[in-house]
């Protein structure tokens, strides 16, 4: 029997019961990207069963949704997945705008796309640096954070914040962009493309990385579908599912971009999806800057006291980690009756138990890193 198949049974090949031990990965661990605890039943270096235990950063976001008005809940959305904060705010304001039938001005939509894509690039850079750190390489983290600082400077100029922007408001944006931002973004796009090439030759084509990631942690299309995995996880398994393409929102249907999809389903495929996505985000930003219309950035007549008609409303966006969807249940009051946040990291991590059975521990960590988890996204 293959070692991997042996480990699925509790008795080893010669009939003797196998000795296993249980260790805890986390909740404080450099490689878990937050407070995740994984209870691992190990047979030596091989994982027999890895059971993630969540809830160590549960911050009651959904309960807060029932205690805050729509405008008051907005800062919470940035803190669900803080690396991709713009897109999460987009999901929430999109749901409210859909329910209240607010017409967001076109300029605001374009700026939303530009800032969301910049946020996507900065999120992927953090993922990339942290992933390489898990695999043992420290240098890419410094390069990634250097590039990310340029994005943060641009966004800080218009939003005032580096990480948890509350830039989108219900009905548009709270602040327009200026020439500093536009010129700075164009300069950033111009200097980022050669950097991506450099990352390819420095890291992606590196033989050690290739040996660590190719054929490690295979996830099939069917497994993705059964667990609801989205984002680069499903795109690395051959399914071209991107909310921006399948359920287009905002003005994404105006742009020409490729949805990178790789067939292999291993960690390398998920890695390449994200690297390609950064290049595609640069394309979207350029097109959006070229097409940016003039006009206001806030809808007219946004009620100060916003009450949504009774019923439930959904909105889905493509965050850096996958499909983020908000479901608002309203009973015609200022405060929502229920806010449900469908977060990608929860679905992505739920397949970890099945996918990691029988793997070596370092390979399982490569798999976990390639899922790109942000734990407050799971716990909310």
């Amino acid at each position: 029997m293959l070692v991997k198949d042996q480990l699925k049974t509790e008795v080893s090949a010669d009939g003797a019961p196998r000795e296993t031990f249980v260790i805890n990965l986390g909740p404080q661990h450099p490689a878990t990207h937050g407070v995740l605890r994984v209870k691992m039943t190990m047979d030596g270096e091989y994982i027999v069963r890895a059971e993630p235990v969540c809830g160590y950063i549960h911050r009651m976001q959904e309960k807060m949704g029932e205690n805050r008005t729509y405008a008051q809940f907005l800062p919470n959305t940035s803190r669900i997945d803080y690396l991709s904060a713009m897109t999460y705010t987009h999901g929430f304001v999109g749901a409210v705008e859909r329910a209240a039938k607010l017409q967001v001005p076109l300029r605001a939509e374009y700026i939303r796309v530009i800032t969301s894509e910049l946020n996507r690039i900065s999120s992927h850079l953090v993922w990339w640096g942290a992933f390489l750190l898990d695999l043992g390489g420290f240098t890419p983290l410094l390069y990634a954070f250097d590039d990310r600082e340029k994005i943060l400077d641009l966004l800080e100029g218009i939003t005032g914040s580096r990480l948890t922007y509350s830039y989108f408001r219900i009905g548009g944006l709270y602040n327009d962009i200026d020439d500093t931002f536009i010129n700075g973004t164009r300069a950033f796009v111009a200097q980022m493309r050669p950097r991506l090439k450099m990352y390819r030759s420095l890291v992606t084509d590196n033989i050690i990385l290739r040996k660590r990631l190719i054929e490690i942690g295979p996830i099939s299309k069917e497994m993705c579908r059964k667990y609801g995995a989205t984002g680069p996880v499903i795109r690395g398994s051959g399914v071209a599912y991107d909310v921006r393409r399948v359920e287009p929102y905002s003005v994404y249907s105006e742009f020409d971009f490729v949805v990178p999809t790789f067939e292999e389903g291993d960690s390398m495929a998920r890695y390449l999806v994200r690297m390609e996505e950064m290049a595609q985000s640069l394309r979207i930003i350029e097109q959006a800057l070229d097409k940016l219309p003039a006009g206001p950035v806030m809808a007219e007549k946004v009620p100060r006291v916003l009450k949504l008609p009774a019923g439930d409303y959904c909105y889905a966006v493509e965050a850096a980690r996958g499909r983020f969807a908000v479901r608002i249940v309203s009973d015609n009051k200022e405060i929502p009756y229920r806010i449900k946040l469908r977060t990608p990291s929860l679905s992505n991590l739920s397949l970890f138990e099945e996918a990691s059975a029988g793997m070596l521990l370092p390979d399982a960590l490569a798999l976990m890193g390639s899922l790109d988890l942000v734990i407050p996204d799971i716990d909310r």
Binding site: P27, Q28, H29, P30, G34, V35, G55, Y56, I57, H58, R59, M60, K63, M64, N67, R68, P75, N76, R79, Y82, L83, V126, L141, L142, F145, D146, R148, E149, R162, L163, T164, P376
Partner: protein, 172 residues
């Protein structure tokens, strides 16, 4: 009298080569210059802590870039993020495992007082990490900028050594 003058003269002569100081001050200087933080990023503030350790803001200038994964080897715990009731026991265990002398920086509003997650009827968040153990420096912000973290570190160094060794940056 002559013997005293001799030793006083001897001190003056070797001043360019040898310094004398109180042992306490030397130890405090050594500790302040090489605080080893525990990697304890819980939530959003952790990213700003990582940015502070990266090359733009560079904690290495202050000797604090060596983040230790194990509490046994760390002497500074930077609580960066929200502490949950489920997590509180683990945080306390980590604090207890750190050897003396140890210090705690509460980074961010969540660590100071529960942050934006305090509301009537809240059931999961510990309202401030100083309910678990003593905190030396509080850095407000949501999240605080990396410069704020560095300033908090310098305040801790001031607490250790008794004087502030780096100039206060004035806003331009």
């Amino acid at each position: 009298m002559e013997a005293q003058n001799d030793s006083a003269q001897a001190l003056k002569d070797c001043a360019p080569y040898v310094r004398f100081a109180k042992l306490d001050e030397l130890l405090a200087l050594g500790r302040a210059n090489s605080l080893w933080p525990l990697t304890f990023g819980l939530a959003c503030c952790a990213i700003e802590m990582m940015a502070a350790g990266a090359s733009r803001f560079d904690l290495a200038r202050f000797g604090a870039e060596v983040f230790r994964p194990s509490p046994r080897q760390a002497d500074l715990m930077i609580i960066a993020g929200t502490v949950n009731k489920k997590m509180a026991a683990a945080v306390k265990t980590l604090y207890d495992q750190m050897p003396e002398p140890k210090w705690v920086i509460a980074m961010g509003n969540c660590a100071i007082s529960g942050g934006p997650f305090v509301f009537p009827g809240q059931y999961a968040v510990i309202e401030g990490v100083d309910k678990l153990f003593p905190v030396d420096v509080y850095i407000p912000g949501c999240p605080p900028r990396p410069e704020a973290l560095i300033e908090g570190l310098l305040k801790l160094e001031e607490k250790l050594t008794g004087k502030r060794r780096w100039p206060i940056v004035k806003a331009e």
